[in-house]
Every structure is written in structure tokens, then in C-alpha cells.
Symmetry: C2
Subunit: 596 residues, 2 copies
């Protein structure tokens, strides 16, 4: 049976020692989030996910969801666990107190979402989708819509979904066929088929609030004619409780590679009642409110699966005895040494640590900026924070999920043949992690978003929120004897990123295919430099703590060793990525399509 221990010490390191969230105690939400309070909440969250969610992770994978006559039964234990989740108030942690939430920073919600996904990704997706629906209604809803839906979503009594995809219409939403006919009472009647709707139907909550994209007849062609609707499974009655059943239903659920515990539904809308959310034909903007939050959430899923898989690989590597250290027996009295003595096993474990700890830092670093963008009194600070988040969103979604899958595979590899056997749970991490590279925009789409939208946006303004502070950091520490061995490689990698950026800016301006041809390698290059920055920042904190005579020297020394590993063993990929990102489109595009 795999284990999961909430990585609380490392989260505390990032929140308090690296980003110092206490500095923002004057901001709404933060003033109630003292270090003691945050630590106590996360401690409780760690217990909840460890005791309630994690034991159901393999159960969910083995049983999967069951579909019959339009209804979905979730795996054994999921209902009870969801009730515990609601009773604990976990759904409303970062929600507005006006709607029954606790009003804590989104940053804390970010940390919680790592723990939930790490313990049980398939389960965590049910409430995870509610957060996106909450955000969209909070931002675009009428006062009446807010009053009807937000408290129910915050409490978890109802859950939410996102309905975008149709069989012929995935990335290209312009191809959408679902129609919404306006009614005399101001509502709409929605007709169409949506697929791949996570948590589209289940038995966990009293109602499901579907946010559905559809076209109002007579509107503009393509994506400019898309509107967003609220189509609840049960229409709220006069007292706010679920009333009449809406004419929408789950037609079937998919058999898929992983996340078996989460229902992936075909949803049929048959003249279903829907309420316009935001303006007519402005559905895409409203949907992006959900999508951007969801993309960051998916990035965190990548981190979470990597962490969970790593923890088990580390235990196995310390316990499994096989062979001898090539440097001579380390444990001569035992029949063999633990496999953690082997450099190549170390390579896999260190890669996992360097990614997960670096990604946690970057994820929370970004999470803080989501809060700043929401609540900071200074407009310029809000805009800067928003720019940073917009820039990093595709990087976090793409790089974290690619690495989440890679690390899950490395962790499985540490188990040898035992990793391939279902009972050890390692191959489930791999299968579950795989979806994160695909949904909420496949990673190739993230890369296009980065080079095609985020780089040129406002004349490159977004990029300055990353390049400028990194440049300041590198210059400030170039001569720092303690950090030099880290800052040197990082500065070289940053130089490569700058050169690749210049290539995309110039070649891409003349020919958009040149930018697209560079996009995936560029995104990964960006992710590596971003994690390198975090590692240098973390190393700086660790050195200070060690100088101050910390009572936990092992923790900080491990940070320094892992930072060195990152610079020596992961950052060199930036050289190859720069070469690929600047190689030009010719060798990609010259073959005729028919040759494939």
C-alpha cells in the first residue's frame, strides 16, 4: 500500500521562510492568516487527506465509477469522504465570508490543493471543479446568481463543472455546435452534446452546477459567438434548494487510462434551462476565468503526483536490499545494501526532489501573486502581479505536468518490476499523472499560449515581471561567494532563455510558424530557468539559516545539495532546449502532410 505524508515542513519553508507571507498581514485575508493559524490549518488538512482521502486512492482506481441509467456511483467511500470534506469546511477555505467562506488567501487554497491531489487526485477533482465554477460566478454573475450558487459551492453542498468540449470540437471552440435559444423569461434552452466532462454526474452532492458554453443563434461566427450559461442539474427552487430536474443527463462515462475514481461524462443537453453568465457572446472571457484557475490547478496536480510517487520511491529505495554499492559494501552485515546507495537510483530520487521542491516554491510564489492581484491596494502592484500570473500560467501547467509524469515514472522505475504491478500503486501515479498533460489545454496549446499570446502581450510587458526581478537577483548575487556556484549556471541558463526569447520575437514576428515551431522547447526552457531561480532563492534562505545556527541543519543542507543537483544535472538541458528552440521550422514543416 502506498503512503502519503503531507509535505508540511516544506510548505512552511516556502510560505514563511521563502516568500514570507507574513509581510502581507495588512492585506485582506492575510491579516487572519498568521503563521500559527496557517500552520494549524495545514496540519489539519494533512491529517484529513492522509486519513480520509489517501486510503481511498487505490480503491477508486480499482473500482472506478459505475454508470447505470443516467446515474453515476462513485467508488466505495467517496461519499463519506466528501461529507467529511464539507463538514471540515475545506471547500470554502479561500471563499468570500459573504458567501460562507473563510476568506483565507488563495495561497493557502493552493497549498491545500496540492495535499488533496497528492492524496487522491481523482477525488480531489470533484471539489476542484467547484472552485472554477465559484470563481466564474463570483466574477461574472448577477447578484441573484451569486446568492443562489456561491454559498452552495463554497459549502460543497453543490459541485461545479466546466462544459467546453464536443466530439468534433476540442481546442478549437469555434467549431462548437451546442445552441442556446433565448426564452421569453430571459432564460435559455440549451441543446447539444458535451464530452469529457469531469465530475459531470456523481452521487456526492445534492446538485451539480454545470457551466456550459453554447452559441446563441444569430450571434457572430466562431469563438466570438460563444456564450456561457449556468445549467444546474436541479433548478434552484424558491427556497434555494434543488427543485425541478433540468433536461440534461449523463449519457455514459469513459473508460480511461487513469483517474478512474473521477467520472468523465458525456453530457446531453436536451432543451435544458440555462441562465446566461456574463454578457451574450462573451462566454470565452468568462470561461477563461475558470480556465486560468484550472490550468494552475492542473499544474499543481503534476507537482502533487510527483510528490506522492517520490515519497514511496524514497521509502522503497531505503528498504529494498539488492546488490552492493560499487564503492564497497555499505552494510556488510546485511545480505545486500539498500538500493539508495546506487548513484543511478540517487539520480532518480534527486530529480524528483529537485522538481517537487522547486515546483512547490514556484507554485506558491505564483499563488501569492494571485492574492496580490486580487486584494493589493496599489493598482500597479495588482497589475504587476496579474502579469506575472498570466505569464507563468502556461509554464506551470505545461512544465509541471510534463515533469509530474516524468517524476512519477522515475519513482516507478525505482521499484523495478514491482513498480509495474498494480498492488504497489506506483503505476497508478503514472496513469493518473498522464491526464494532466492533456486536459485544460494540451501542453502544446500551453506552449502556443506562452509564445503567441503571453510574450507579445502589451509589448512584452508580462515578460518584464519575470526577467527584471531575476536579473536583479543575479546581479545582486553574482559575487556572493556562497551562492556563486549556483548563480553562475543560472545566469548562463537565463542568457539562453533571453536569446531564445529574442529569436522568437524576431523570427516569430515575420512568420508565426517560427514561433510555434519553437514553442514547446521554449516553454520547457522557461520552466527550467524559473525553477533555477527558485532554487537559488531557496539556497540563499538556507545559507542564512545555517549561518544563524538553525536547529534543523539537515533540512537546510539538503536544500543546498538539491540546489546544486538542480544546477548541475537538470539546468544543462537549457543548452539543448535553446538549440532546438532556435533551430527554425524547416525540418518540422518540409514534409508534405501526406507523407505522414
Amino acid at each position: 500500500m502506498p503512503v502519503y505524508n503531507a509535505p508540511l515542513r516544506d510548505i512552511r519553508f516556502v510560505l514563511h521562510e521563502l516568500i514570507g507571507m507574513e509581510r502581507f498581514a495588512n492585506l485582506p485575508g492575510f491579516k487572519d492568516a498568521s503563521a500559527d493559524v496557517v500552520d494549524a490549518i495545514l496540519e489539519e488538512a494533512g491529517k484529513f487527506v492522509g486519513e480520509v482521502l489517501q486510503p481511498l486512492n487505490q480503491v477508486g482506481d480499482r473500482e472506478g465509477c459505475k454508470f447505470a441509467a443516467g446515474e453515476v456511483a462513485t467508488p466505495t467511500g467517496f461519499r463519506q469522504a466528501y461529507q467529511t470534506y464539507c463538514q471540515g469546511g475545506w471547500g470554502g477555505l479561500a471563499a468570500d465570508p459573504e458567501h460562507g467562506g473563510q476568506g483565507l488567501p488563495h495561497l493557502i487554497g493552493f497549498a491545500l490543493s496540492e495535499l488533496m491531489s497528492g492524496a487522491n487526485m481523482a477525488f480531489a477533482m470533484y471539489p476542484g471543479l467547484s472552485h472554477g465554477a465559484y470563481a466564474a460566478i463570483e466574477r461574472h454573475g448577477t447578484p441573484g446568481q451569486k446568492a443562489s450558487y456561491l454559498p452552495k459551492l463554497a459549502s460543497g453542498e453543490w459541485t461545479g463543472t466546466m462544459n467546453l468540449t464536443e466530439p468534433h470540437c476540442g481546442t478549437d471552440l469555434g467549431l462548437m455546435r451546442s445552441r442556446a435559444e433565448p426564452q421569453a423569461d430571459g432564460s435559455y434552452r440549451i441543446t447539444g452534446t458535451k464530452i469529457f466532462i469531469s465530475a459531470g454526474e456523481h452521487d456526492l452532492a445534492d446538485n451539480i452546477v454545470h457551466l456550459v458554453l453554447a452559441k446563441i443563434p444569430g450571434g457572430p461566427e466562431g469563438v466570438r459567438g460563444i456564450s456561457l450559461f449556468i445549467a444546474p442539474k436541479f433548478l434552484p427552487g424558491a427556497d434555494g434548494s434543488p427543485g425541478k430536474r433540468n433536461t440534461l443527463a449523463c449519457g455514459s462515462i469513459e473508460h480511461k487510462m487513469g483517474i478512474h475514481g473521477n467520472s468523465t461524462c458525456v453530457m446531453n443537453y436536451d432543451g435544458a434551462v440555462g441562465y446566461l453568465l456574463g454578457g451574450a457572446h462573451r462566454g470565452l472571457q468568462a470561461m477563461f476565468t475558470m480556465m486560468n484557475a484550472a490550468r494552475l490547478g492542473v499544474g499543481i496536480q503534476g507537482l502533487a503526483q510527483a510528490e506522492a510517487a517520490y515519497q514511496n520511491a524514497a521509502i522503497y529505495a531505503r528498504e529494498r536490499r539488492q546488490g552492493r554499492s560499487v564503492a564497497g559494501a555499505k552494510d556488510a552485515d546485511a545480505p545486500a545494501d539498500a538500493i539508495v546507495v546506487h548513484p543511478d537510483v540517487r539520480r532518480m530520487l534527486m530529480t524528483a526532489r529537485a522538481f517537487t521542491e522547486g515546483a512547490r516554491a514556484l507554485g506558491l510564489w505564483t499563488g501569492l501573486r494571485i492574492d496580490l492581484a486580487h486584494v493589493h491596494p496599489d493598482e500597479r502592484t495588482r497589475r504587476d502581479a496579474e502579469d506575472f500570473v498570466a505569464l507563468l500560467t502556461p509554464v506551470i501547467k505545461g512544465y509541471f505536468t510534463d515533469m509530474g509524469f516524468e517524476v512519477a515514472n522515475l519513482a516507478m522505475q525505482c521499484y523495478g518490476g514491482h513498480g509495474y504491478i498494480a498492488e504497489h500503486g506506483m503505476e497508478q501515479f503514472v496513469r493518473d499523472a498522464r491526464i494532466a498533460q492533456i486536459y485544460e489545454g494540451a501542453n502544446g496549446v500551453q506552449a502556443l499560449d506562452l509564445v503567441g499570446r503571453k510574450l507579445p502581450q502589451n509589448m512584452g510587458r508580462l515578460l518584464r515581471q519575470f526577467f527584471h526581478p531575476l536579473d536583479v537577483f543575479l546581479q545582486a548575487h553574482a559575487a556572493d561567494a556562497g551562492l556563486r556556484e549556483l548563480v553562475g549556471p543560472l545566469a548562463r541558463a537565463f542568457g539562453r532563455l533571453q536569446q531564445a526569447t529574442a529569436h522568437i520575437a524576431t523570427a516569430g514576428l515575420k512568420d508565426a510558424e517560427e514561433a510555434a515551431a519553437a514553442s514547446s522547447d521554449y516553454l520547457r526552457l522557461f520552466g527550467l530557468v524559473a525553477l533555477g531561480w527558485m532554487w537559488a532563492e531557496m539556497a540563499k534562505v538556507a545559507q542564512t539559516k545555517l549561518k544563524e545556527g538553525s536547529a534543523e541543519p539537515e533540512f537546510y543542507r539538503a536544500k543546498l545539495a538539491t540546489a546544486r543537483f538542480f544546477m548541475e544535472r537538470m539546468l544543462p538541458d537549457t543548452a539543448a532546449l535553446q538549440a532546438k528552440a532556435t533551430a527554425g521550422k524547416r525540418s518540422l514543416m518540409e514534409l508534405d502532410a501526406a507523407v505522414f
Copy 2:
């Protein structure tokens, strides 16, 4: 439903145009293998795997094997398909005519094994393991053993297995507990439990010939005390047909990530009759005869899964319409362009092509040398060929299977969300391909074999079989105007391999952990340079054909374009790999084991 089309044109290109197998017509086996005969055989093989094996690939995955009361039922259709396989004489293609085989070169067996695995990997493993058993008995068996077992294995009437692993004993065979007690009649009684025994029990054949490693009491400690035994499921009777049931049985089968159609068995030996194969305590040498063949076979599985996955991704990319080319609509009359217009989809497809075609060339290039090592009259030529095969075996096993998994994932990614759904079959390629990185020695073990055994062997003699001809090729074509754009990057990559080799030789000599710390990155660097060499050789052939006015200019132009892609987009990784392979062990090893 996924498709599989045997890549016969490309195999013919490699056999006849690249390696020119006709040059060896004076050698045993080759004289009956004219181009016409070989092409006709492979054409038939393509039909067989396409019509008989491939339609069972998803069936096998969905149904899996069923275990009850010591017996294993294979999935629907497998029995009939296996009979067709035997009737076609496919099992004895490269077997000695003395034992009922057709005596064709192993090279052709290699090509056949790609087709079988590409169509249905789980099925192909049943007869695949028979080849290893055949090879071990042919090389180490007594005349009586050969007469009893080889014709039955060649015809496919009986199948074979390899029994190495025990619950506590995987890579480290020195920990083995299975015992073999000598009997008065010269036979042994074997007692112990073996796990992960592929095809250990099934309903396809009349008998199963288990080759079992066990220790004879009183022998040397550790791996030097291991012997190999033939322990058939049914002891051959006086007339050679299966007689008395041996006291060995399948205890259960594993539930695993993939290859569901192949039974992975726990085998219990309860005083089972076994016959010593090769000398007492010389089991490891005999086992390595099987293992080396098996490792190359596993490498071919990686290639095969990549090819099968690629073919489906290519079709999907040409047919799925979504979005528009960033360079402007390519198919303005349709609602959207096919996704093959997108540079990032091209990146995935081209990576798949560059790997599969390069790996096929290197695999058959190596397969030819297996034949030369067996049948060439000149001793030095035999030794050179054997050196080449020994050197490339870990590279082919490790690099091909890592890339097989990566390419299967890229192909799945081309499908977006549809790739994650079981019915399309793409995620099965990923799950099936994953085992190849693990079994027959996990890829980290292959890397150690390469740096710890193959590089230093006979004072670096093996390496010269690779470095010398590549050096000759590069020098001969350095000034070749047509090849310069390929030879330049390849020469730089080769330089990186040479420098990494020098680092391992010097640092590893002083400290074995330094060589181990470099091993996995070095193996991949080696694989990239080896494929680069093949691409340069293939480009040379293609240029000649185009100059000669070939009737298939598209085929050869695609070779040239793919060669350029490989050099521009895949070979740059060698820069990063050299940096990592020479970074030293410190950042891997400095953390205390307890910190993980």
C-alpha cells in the same frame, strides 16, 4: 480501433539498401535469403501480424489472462492465433534446419520480431521467450537435451520461459534461495518460488519448458553458485511427447499496468524435476545467452510500440480538424485545418519518425552482426561482430525502450483527450511500452553494464568497433557538400561522446561511483550518437538514390528531411547529456540516505 501496417518498405530499405545483406550471400543462411525470398517472407509476415495478431491486441488488453486452480486462460482468440503462428512456421524462421527450422539469418528473425511486437506485444512475448530458451539449449545443451527440446521449441509445439527473479532477489541474483538437490539418476529436484515469470503458464501449447536458475547445495556463495536447469511442465516421455506432470505450478498471476494479454506468473517449484543445462555453478553464463538475446528483443519491443503508436497518431493528425494553421488557413473550404499543419504536432510526429526509422536501422545493423558472429568463416570478423553486439546490447535495450515509451506518449498526446480514452488504443501502447524499460534488467542496470562492463572489457576493445568505423565515416564525408549539414552536427556529438567516455575512463578508474553516476546520461548520449550515425548513413543512401533518379523520390526526400530533423532537433540533447555525464557524483551522493 487502432491500425498496424507492417513497415515493409522501410525494412526493405534497411536490409537491401542500407546494410546490403546480399553482400553476404556466401554465408550459411544468407545464401537462401535472396532479396526476393526475404521480401516475400516479410510480406507474408506482414499479412499474418496484421490480420491475425493485431485485431487481438485490444481484446488481450481488455480481457487479460484469467487464473484459476493453477491454470491460465489466455484472452479470446490467442489460442487460434498461436496455432496459426505455428502452422505458418514462424517460430522456426531462424532455427537450425537440423531441428526443424528454416535456417534463415537471425537478421530476418529480428525484422519479424518487430512486426509481431508492433501488432500485439503481449501475444508476441509467448513465442518470444521460446527463442531465448532455444538459444540457451542450443548453446549449452547435451545432444540428448537438444534432441528433446529444440524441435519442439522451433515448431512452437512447446514454449519456453526464463525463471530468474524471486521476491527478494531481482537484479541481485546472488540472493537467490531456490535450491536444486542432486538425485541419483543425475537429475535434480528444484524447490523455490519464482516471480514475474512471463508466459509461465498458459493454454497455448502442449508443454512449457522452464529454464530455472537455482543453487546446488554446497556450491559457492553468491552468483558463482548458481546453476541453470531445464524443468519442463510435463516431463518428456519415451516417445518425446509430454508425459508425467512435473511438480511445479503457477500460484497466481499479477495484475499489472499493461501487457495484460501475457501471463505474468508466480511459479512454485516443489521438488520439481530439473535437468542441469551447462555446467554446475555455471548457470549465469548460460542464462546470459538468453538474456542478451532477450535484451535486444526488448529493445525491439520499444521500437515496435513506437512504430505502432506513431502510425495511428499520423492518421489522426491528418484527419482530425481543429483550428487553423498559424500561417493562414490551409484548407479554407473545410471548417478547420487538419492538425498536422501545426508545427508542434509535427514536432511530435517527426520525433517519432526519426526515432523509429533510426532505431530500425541500428537494430538490423546489429542483427546482421549477430549473424556474422555466428557464421562468418573469419575468426577476427566473428570477434569484431561479437564485440559490436555486446557493446550495443545495453544501448539498444536502454535507449530504444526509453524512447519507445516517450514516442508512445507523444503519439498519445497528438490525440488530445481522446488519447486518454481506452477505446482508441493509444494509452495501451503507453502502458505496454512501459514494461520494456524495466524487465530483462532495468535501464539503470543496462547503463551500468555499459560503463562498468562493456567499456573496460578487453582494454576498451569493444568500443573500437563503434568509434573506429564512425570516425572513418565522418572523415570520409567531412567535405561532402551534400552531407555536410548532417556530418557537422554528428561529428560534434561524437566529440561529446568521446569526451564523456574519457571522463568515465579516468574518473571511473579511481572511483567506480563516478562511472555509475554518469551511466544513464552516458547511455542516452551513446544512443543518440548511434542513431545519428545511422541517419547520416541513410541520408547518404538516399542522396545516391535521388541522384540516380529513383522512381520513389518522396521516400528518399523524406529520409533526408528526417535526417536533418534528427540532427537539428534531437542530437542537441548530446550537449546537455555530456554536461550531466561529466558533472561528477557529488550532488548525487552527498545527502545522507536517511534524508530521502
